[in-house]
Symmetry: C2
Subunit: 442 residues, 2 copies
């Protein structure tokens, strides 16, 4: 693993003086699959499924679980109570409006804390130092004092923070910080923020409040993971995630994507906190529950995340995996696959396979058989079995002897030459290929 020495700002001397505020190596995850995730179009979790998800996430190692407000429905309230009583290591939060009606119900459920949020973005966007501001401050004060009087953790968040007036934002955060909230929350509710904006807002807020700072990023414009990283660089302490990013619209910072990002920034810290090899199981659990496929290009667990294809890449990977991998697949319980039966293949990758099969060919011979593979693959890609067959036949022709024994050699080329693309199109097959791969790259 080639870790980026010098931290995340190795090309960024401007940030070095304030590096001490960075929390990239000291953060907590607030896992919101059971709240934000329940707002995903397909999501409907019954009590048993919620408990299964809560236990899986707790086992993975997230620090907090956030649940749907007990004020949403009677079953939501009962589920809060059930999960709060599981005795998990993770702290249990519920997410409610900043309103006494909701707070009164929530504090009786046995949760460890309340994440309260101002109910409407338009309110915050439209007020400016007048009656609305006083109204928010008054309501927040009552709710926060009530929650604190019950001995529970409390976070106060605005909505749509990146389209709110900066002075108003800082003013309300300063007010609730003085009331003794545990965290203030910044939310990019519509998914419009960029990492530069996030960095500046969090850095500014870091100078205004003394409490922790939680961030919540929607992914409508593809910045939810990068924004989380920028927030931590600026001194945020808590990041909201959901498994596969499920949530309103196309969702929020995905748990798997965030751990991939933070692993690349500080591998030891992330590996010490989270059971990364369980990520795939957690994702499959959620994908089944909400009836979606894990995206083909998903971080870490997408079936092609560790597939190398171009000849130039394959060559380097075979020499030293870190040349083309910032994530070590084995750290996530995954395996690498070097694809060679296509027209972009290279002779170094083919040579490696020749050696794996125990065949003896000169470099010139390998180059010749590589040209044959390219010519065949120009018509259609070839499976690894088909390539092996071709290599054995080529070897036999040159050396005039039978090929080294292998059950694969006995297969007919008809069954072997299944289209590799079609083979790879299912996760099950990808797993099979991943096993082949171990022999390619061991």
């Amino acid at each position: 693993m080639t870790k980026s020495n010098g931290g995340p700002h190795s090309f960024n001397p401007h940030y070095v003086p304030s590096e001490f505020l960075s929390r990239v190596s000291n953060f907590s995850i607030i896992e919101s699959t059971l709240r934000e995730g329940e707002q995903f179009a397909n999501a409907f979790f019954d009590t048993a499924k919620k408990i299964e998800i809560a236990k899986a996430l707790d086992d993975f190692g997230v620090e907090y679980l956030e649940l749907t407000s007990p004020a949403a429905s009677e079953q939501s309230r009962l589920d809060c109570i059930a999960i709060a009583n599981l005795g998990l290591k993770a702290k249990i939060l519920t997410h409610t409006r900043c309103h006494m009606d909701d707070a009164r119900i929530a504090v009786e459920t046995g949760v460890d804390g309340l994440d309260v949020v101002i109910g409407t973005s338009s309110l915050l966007r439209e007020f400016s130092h007048g009656k609305d501001m006083d109204y928010i401050a008054k309501q927040a004060t009552e709710v926060i004092n009530f929650i604190k009087s019950k001995g529970l953790e409390v976070r106060f968040s605005t909505e749509d923070s990146f389209r709110s007036d900066l002075v108003d934002l800082l003013s309300i955060y300063k007010t609730v910080d003085k009331l003794g909230v545990n965290r203030v929350g910044i939310a990019d509710t519509v998914g419009c923020a960029t990492p530069n904006q996030v960095f500046e807002l969090v850095r500014t807020l870091r100078g205004v409040v003394s409490c922790d700072i939680e961030c919540h990023f929607h992914n409508d414009t593809g910045c939810a993971i990068a924004n989380a990283h920028a927030a931590l660089e600026a001194g945020a302490t808590h990041i909201d995630t959901s498994v596969l990013g499920i949530g309103e619209r196309n969702g929020i910072t995905p748990l798997g994507g965030l751990v991939a990002r933070m692993y690349a920034t500080d591998r030891e810290y992330v590996m010490g906190k989270y059971k990364l090899h369980k990520l795939r199981d957690v994702e499959n659990l959620i994908a089944d529950a909400v009836e979606v496929q894990v995206p083909f290009n998903n971080y870490v667990t997408g079936y092609c995340a560790f597939t190398h294809k171009a000849g130039i890449h394959a060559k380097a990977i075979l020499n030293n995996p870190s040349t083309y991998e910032i994530l070590k697949p084995e750290d996530f319980g995954m395996t690498r696959y070097v694809s060679i039966g296509h027209r972009l293949t290279g002779w170094n990758a083919v040579k490696n396979r020749v050696q794996q099969l125990g065949l003896t060919l000169t470099d010139e011979e390998v180059k010749k058989v590589t040209a044959e593979i390219k010519a065949l693959a120009d018509i259609r890609p070839r499976s690894i079995d088909a390539v092996d067959q071709l290599l054995r036949e080529f070897h036999a022709e040159i050396h005039g002897e039978s090929t080294p024994g292998s059950p694969q050699a006995k297969r007919t080329s008809e069954t072997n030459e299944a289209d590799e693309s079609a083979e790879a199109a299912t996760n099950g097959e990808a797993n099979k290929k991943a096993k082949v791969d171990e022999t390619v790259t061991a």
Copy 2:
């Protein structure tokens, strides 16, 4: 559409002085589905499919198409010739090693330019001002002069730029800039870079070379879109994309994600350049060709990208869509859907549906029927048809009359109450739902 006034740095006074270098409103896309995308595990494009893809991307409006090196295989060479001769509006590039063998083949294909790249990252990472540096400079000089002598565009890129020595990088870029390349390229080949690192490197490079700057970002750690945005903020001029992000491993900056991001930054500019309503067709073309599903959470075109569920969101969306949407669905040929048959629903969303159906209920009555919907949905979510049926029956009970005529009212609740989650799980159904939605939100 609420545009972020004051540009992408509205909370970022530090960047204002150098805002004039930003290219967020003046950039070009180098679309690499036919090069990087061909390195995706599943990709195999025959000539007809390549031509179909090239025409679709040209019609969408991308400025450049990048093709696989003609040195990769004989068919690759023939395909370069075929596409270069289509007479497209987009400029045609091919991507080759910085090597005379490849350059000689490429200049004969009729392409408009060559994107040349130093062949190995390890080479660049290990050299330091010695023999290797001279070797690279000498090779680059010969290749660049040769391409320029043929009157073609030339880009010179390093690989793995973010793990390369900064001084060496700047030195080689300065050398090739003096040789008169059209662009230098920065590549995050392993997907390790963060937006802050990108901003700093591009900003530094912007002061060193006078030519254009192209950036290529892999997405292993989820920053490929945000990095592209940061690069443009710092003065980069060209961004590499592929449709759905397909490429080596989990791919690069996706075309759809980039246009969503840049639309949020400058809607008018992006809408003036690209036919956004054709994005879905282009993505479906590629998804079919490489046999993958468009991810459920895909930018813009994922089936839930414009689905609103939580009561608080639904209420605001019904009042003013921009409260929870930074992208206008109609700008992309998409439609909005407000989901109401679930336990997170709210009475404002239900009231809106009541009005759509031509029913007359007081607010108190709507709150009562909303409680009924929540109670039913606590057991399992209800389809829009089932909710409509329930609203009509509730209305009839109160008003003691038959419900306003509607073919839906005649359906049995048995067939109507299909599980909404299951319904939503296919794109076809999502389209059906999107139509329902028009009536909800019109």
